[in-house]
Structures are given as C-alpha cells and as structure tokens.
Amino acid sequence: MTATPSGPRRVPPERVPWYLILAATAILLALVVASAGQYAAVTQAHANAYFVPAYSITFRGTDPRGVLLDNGSVRLGLTLVATNPSPVVLDFQTIIVKAWIGNATTPTGLYLVFLPTFDVNTLPSPPAPIAARGSGTLSLNFTLDRTSHPMQFGAVQSIQSAVANATGTASGIPWNLYVLITLRVEGIPDPVASAGTYELNLNRVILTWGQDLGT
C-alpha cells in the first residue's frame, strides 16, 4: 500500500512563475495576432480598395445649336461605386470633384468648370458604410447656372459659342473629370498631431480617378 499526500495538491513555488508566464504568453500572443491582423487588414484596404465613377453631363435650356441660354444650366451627375476587398469597414468621408470642359484657347486645352469639395456628412442623406468585402454607392449631382456660378457658366457659354460658330454645333465638346475620395477606416482612431507623417493617413484611404490638371 502506497501512502499518498492528503488534502489539495500544492504547486511548488518555483513552478508558479512558469504558470504565470504561460498565461501571459497566451495574452501576448493574442495581442500580437490581433495587432498584426489589424495592420494587415488596414494595409489591404489601402492597397486594394478602388472606385469607379460613372458620370453624365446634361445641358438644360440651350439654343438649337446646343449653346446654353442665359437661363439654362449644366448638370453633372456622378455615381461612385467603391469596392472594399478588405476585412475592415470603410466610410465615405470627403469628395473632391473637378470637371474641365475642352477649350482650345487655353494652354491646357481645358477650362475648369466644376470644383466641389465637401464632407459627405453634410449631405442630407449620408451614404451607408462600405461593408467589409463589400461595395458602396454614392450618387451626387452638381448644377451650374448663371446665378450660382456666373464666371464658370459664362466660360461654358463662350466655349460652346466658339465651337458652334466653327462647326455648327456645340455638341461633342470633350470633358475631363477627376475625382478624389477619402474613405475613413472604421475603428482606427485619429493619431495625435505630433505623430509621425507615416501615421497621419493610416485611417484614411485616399483614392483618385482621372487626371488632375490642377486649378
């Protein structure tokens, strides 16, 4: 018959730190894996997210040649479809749109007509977040008329008149569109102002489409 110690088994004191180290290792491993996973996910959003715009330019109130009348207007309809292949959720944040109309009299051959920049949260109905591995759509309309933008409206009228005088019609004038959108990565806080430059835009995915010809 073998004698066995009675009562609860006690842990030798030199083993106690090893049990604590085991528990701490599990916690640290979880933190390491979660942090690396978060980093990889945000990096994937920066590297692989993209958007495709579809736009239309419509003239209202024109003469038979297609030249804008003084009470006419130009409408830019823009639909942005952003695709998010990453496991993080993205929110539309800011949009910059630039649209130039073809103008042979300027050095670039184009004249900047539309230049709206805004925060999507100021829209009457802000767009829904772009789900992880999903896509989101944002539709926008901009209207140019003599009352709201007299200088740009006058420029469009002049360019159309010049083209119509030369060719007989104002249709077929080329446009150049440039769109910049900022998508905010949900769950990633803003860094402090003193943070390194490499940190400043980690929580913002900046995407562009088209050629920016400046202002």
């Binding site: 110690p5 006690r10 030798p12 004191p13 030199e14 106690v16 730190p17 090893w18 604590l20 180290i21 701490a24 290792t25 640290l28 491993l29 933190l31 390491v32 979660a34 942090s35 690396a36 996973g37 978060q38 980093y39 990889a40 996910a41 945000v42 990096t43 994937q44 590297a47 692989n48 990453s86 769950g187 990633i188 806080p189 803003d190 860094p191 402090v192 003193s194 943070a195 390194g196 490499y198 940190e199 980690l202 929580n203």
Partner: protein, 157 residues
C-alpha cells in the same frame, strides 16, 4: 556528471523559453510603439504606462523563473533580438494578404529606424525588472519551499 548535464540542458531550455517570452513582449511593444492606432488596443499615441506595464510584467515574470543572474542577462540580450524579429514579422503580416509594401530586407531596417527607442526601453526594462524578479525569486518566492513537504521540494544546487 549526468546531473550536471541535465542541469545545463534545463538551463539552456529555460533560457530559450524565457528569451522567447521576453521577445514576444518586446516585439508587441515595438509594434505598438510604431503603430499605436493599428494595434490592439488602439490609441491615438503610444501609452508609456501601458508599454512599461507590459515590459515590466514580462521582465519580472522572466526574472522569477530565472535561476542565475548571468542567465538573466543572456535572456535580456536574446530577448531584444527576438523582439526585433517578432516586430519585423508583425510588420510583414500584410504579405499574408498578398500586399507587399516593401522588400523583405527593408522592413527590418524600417523596424529598427522607428522602433529603436522601444528596443532600448525594452533592454533597460528587462535588465532592471529582470534583476528585480531574480531577487524576488531568491528572497520571497523560494522562502515558501520551507512550508512544503520535503518530498515535494526538489533539491537545489
């Protein structure tokens, strides 16, 4: 002879395990220091208190499990090297999703460039708190072995 070899093997194994533990903690701290907004838990800037807590806790625990001061110093040095390796591996994690940000050779330099203050902090913290842990082991923890039945206590050299 056999006993000495067994002790040496145990010391080597313990040193390797504790260096790995210190490296894991330091690697996490370096990554957190470089990218506080992308770490878990995330914050707008690295919290010095949190960094120190992680480093001090890991160094003290490693010290409590260390039998000799010389081993503690070796662990500290190896821990810094392994910490750099862990941080580099974390910075390379986007490659798992097919995103290659920089060459494999560039990332360790990037890690050292931005993570050097944290590596240095880890080295010093491991030295101070590791030594404190060894002291705690000798003067507090092992005192309780006198309360144990003799058959449960392994003879120390």
């Amino acid at each position: 002879m056999e006993r000495e070899r067994a002790d040496r093997n145990r010391n080597l194994r313990n040193t390797a395990l504790l260096s790995g533990f210190l490296g894991l903690a330091l690697g996490y701290v370096v990554f957190y220091g470089i990218y506080p907004t992308l770490s878990v838990p995330a914050g707008p800037e690295p919290s010095f208190g949190y960094l120190l807590l992680i480093l001090a806790m890991s160094a003290t625990l490693a010290g409590l499990a260390t039998e000799r001061l010389a081993m503690g110093i070796v662990q500290d040095l190896l821990g810094v090297l392994l910490g750099g390796a862990v941080a580099t591996a974390m910075l390379m994690s986007p490659a798992l999703t097919g995103v290659v940000l920089a060459g494999a050779v560039d990332i360790p330099f990037y890690m050292v460039h931005f993570g050097f203050p944290f590596l240095l902090l880890g080295f010093l913290t491991n030295l101070v708190f590791g030594t404190a842990g060894i002291g705690l082991r000798e003067y507090v923890l092992l005192r309780y072995r006198h309360d144990l039945p003799p058959s449960w206590v392994r003879n120390r050299k």
